[in-house]
Amino acid sequence: MKNALGREIPEYISGVAEVKVFAGAFDTPPSMNRQAPKVKTVHPTDSKMLDSLAEVFAKIPVTDGMTLSFHHHFRNGDGVVNMVLTTAAKLGLKNLKVALSSVFPVHAPLIEHAKNGVVTALDTNYMSGPVAKAVSQGLFATPVVMRTHGGRGRAIECGQLKIDVAFIAAPAADEYGNINGVQGPAACGSLGYAFPDAQYADYVVAVTDYMVEYPLSPVSIPQTRVDYVVKVDCVGDPKGIVSGTTRITKDPVGLKIADNAAKVIQAAGLIKAGFSFQTGAGGASLATAAVVRRMMEKDGVTGSFALGGITGYMVDMLEKGLFKKLIDVQGFDLEAIQSIAKNPNHLEVGADYYASPFNAGCAVNKLDAVILGATEIDTDFNVNVVTGSDGVIMGGSGGHSDAAAGAKVTIVVANLLRGRLPIIVDKVLTATTPGETIDVLVTERGIAINPRRTDLKEKILAAGLPVKDIQELKELAEKIAGAPKQIKTGEKIVAIVEYRDGTIIDVVRQVEE
């Protein structure tokens, strides 16, 4: 059956209980209650401390077919996922489902586990590295479920993603399971992506390398939800954990794009008191933030909040009074960690508060502007951030679709030509974020505005910015580079792309070797 973007979605997909197709960004309302984990009790004399992960597996017990969940706050420095899966493999467990909010190159051992049948299903919001490539080549028999950050929170709360055991990599913990992300050698800042897991999993296990005397404070994840605590030698590589930030791009073309993107925000009349802003961590997005900052400084504007993955750059803006608050779902560097630890105006929030569409209102709804990237965008403004131009999975929505839906003005910044490849296509290979939520595309050769936004178009034209029709930009790119041939993919579905509301917006098919 076709969904609202014209994508062909099979009626039956292995591993998906009920296939609901994307009907529009705001067209599928919720129709369920939140699910509730089993109630447990702990006797006053009970200890939660276990000596090893193997003991945890025995105690719960973890059995074949269970869903184990993990957060990705340690990014490419993570050690917990591999440790847990090694334990599972040693114990001969099979058919586990791994719900890991983002997959990085460090998670490569997952490939062996998949080949050996230890792990047969994967649920994630973003994939990079060898696992992403292997998935594209057909590693799993059951399609991988790819969600948005807000959508994962929603799926956990509403019962579509039922977690048996949540293994929470804890930078610091006490013996009763209180956890925070700001102390210990593996400090990572906000633990926002672990909040839904902690609240809704049947069993929650804190895995830490840094024990603190009871009671730990501050508390991000409370003892009331944590069943067991395991101390290991090392939960992750601090160098990999705080390496998340990119530098502001030095590429002159990227800087020009950033300049124009900031001018679009200004032309839209958004840079005034109370301004709220989110930017990705990529080089061009950061460059845009830098130009926006200069505009705010020049006009003496105090913004209300900056949102999302937080970097030292945003912390500096908070400390200089350019924003009143930071809403932090993920810290990228040391400055972000230090700031969240000591500054009461730097807030730690969960993935649900950040971006879930099925609650009484998430933070992205309050955004004035967001700057996003894209691997492809089509003439309907649909954006692909899942597959690269070669059809191989190299990303995922993360917060992309969520922020795009919530923000007043959503701007995609991209080179019109990346090397030789035109970024504008007739139909994106993998639809991730629907065009109705994308307002402006800023390239180095012109700015395209979604026809839905006649209000914006007037303002941007009045500011003297170079506006072009998106079809015109596409033709310009193809005139320069030649028209690219379409990638051929196989038949087998290797991943489904779930929109934030649980409907299926597209599928990813296998790439030929």
Binding site: L255, K256, D259, G464
Partner: protein
């Protein structure tokens, strides 16, 4: 004087395909595709092919296409043969020291031009003490010469002085060049500001150049373009003043009086010319309405 706007002239390394194909996106008034300093001796041949092809296929928008060839005593001949048939707008000749140099260049260029080709203009880059001394003769040497430009890095080396940000050591060279260009009726273009990270310094240096009478500035980084344009664009007060001047002239003509005055001062021809230039520039830049 050639009325082509040359507020910014951006150098683009001639051996870098990525930069050659993107040269037109930065909005510089001129792009200078460089065969000289940016290209190693072993890659001059490769750069000629790249630039020849770029001239024919890359859309540089409204930017004037200028080629900086190698010095006349090295590879200039091969450079000219390779690029002139591809219709550049101008050739930037480095290390020009005499009117003779211009004649040599003109001969080579004319020989390489195709029958119906618009004559390629020449911009002389003065980079030596002798070049500065001969500035007027160089500017007058041929109608193809439309501008003189200053290359301060080599010039200060020729002086045996240290190149500094505030530029006292090139002050005289700057004023001589501006004067010679004005006397000869050609444009004057200032030397590039080489610290690409120092925006404040660039602004100060460009403002000085404008005050001295330069019409534009060479640039070594696209990030500099906006700052340079902001300095050379007429300001609102410039435009207001110019409009008042023209109004005063018109009023005097209508009243049949011979002399116009503004704010108690006589408005004579040089003032009118300056006012007209400002309004012309303002119209070109779309700052005011009116025929361009």
């Amino acid at each position: 004087m050639d009325m082509k706007l040359r507020r910014s002239m951006l150098f683009i390394p001639g051996n870098n395909p990525g930069m050659l194909q993107n040269g037109g996106v930065f909005g510089a008034d001129s792009v200078i595709l460089d065969l000289e300093d940016a290209v190693a001796p072993s890659e001059k041949d490769a750069a000629r092919f790249l630039i020849a092809h770029a001239l024919r296929t890359v859309d540089y928008g409204c930017s004037e296409k200028v080629i900086r060839i190698n010095p006349l005593d090295t590879f200039a001949a091969e450079d000219i043969k390779a690029v002139v048939p591809c219709h550049p707008d101008a050739i930037l000749v480095p290390k020009v020291e005499s009117a003779e140099d211009i004649h040599t260049a003109v001969q080579m260029i004319a020989a390489a031009e195709q029958p119906d080709q618009t004559p390629v203009k020449i911009i002389a880059l003065l980079e030596t003490p002798r070049g500065i001394l001969e500035a007027y003769n160089i500017a007058k040497a041929d109608p193809r010469v439309v501008a003189l430009a200053l290359g301060a890095e080599d010039y200060t080396a020729g002086l045996g002085a240290m190149r500094t940000k505030e530029g006292t050591e090139i002050f005289t060279a700057r004023t001589i060049l501006v004067n010679a260009a004005a006397a000869a009726g050609v444009q004057s273009i200032d030397t590039p500001y080489t610290d690409a990270n120092d925006e404040e310094g660039l602004l100060a240096d460009t403002e000085l150049a404008k005050r001295l009478g330069f019409k534009g500035k060479l640039s070594i980084n696209p990030r500099q373009i906006d700052v340079i344009h902001s300095v050379f664009n007429p300001s609102i007060s410039d435009i207001d003043w110019a409009e008042q001047v023209i109004h005063a002239i018109r009023k005097a003509e209508a009243e049949g009086s011979g002399v116009a005055s503004l704010n108690g001062k006589m408005v004579d021809l040089p003032i009118v010319n300056r006012a007209e230039r400002i309004l012309h520039l303002a119209r070109l830049l779309g700052l005011i309405e009116g025929a361009k």
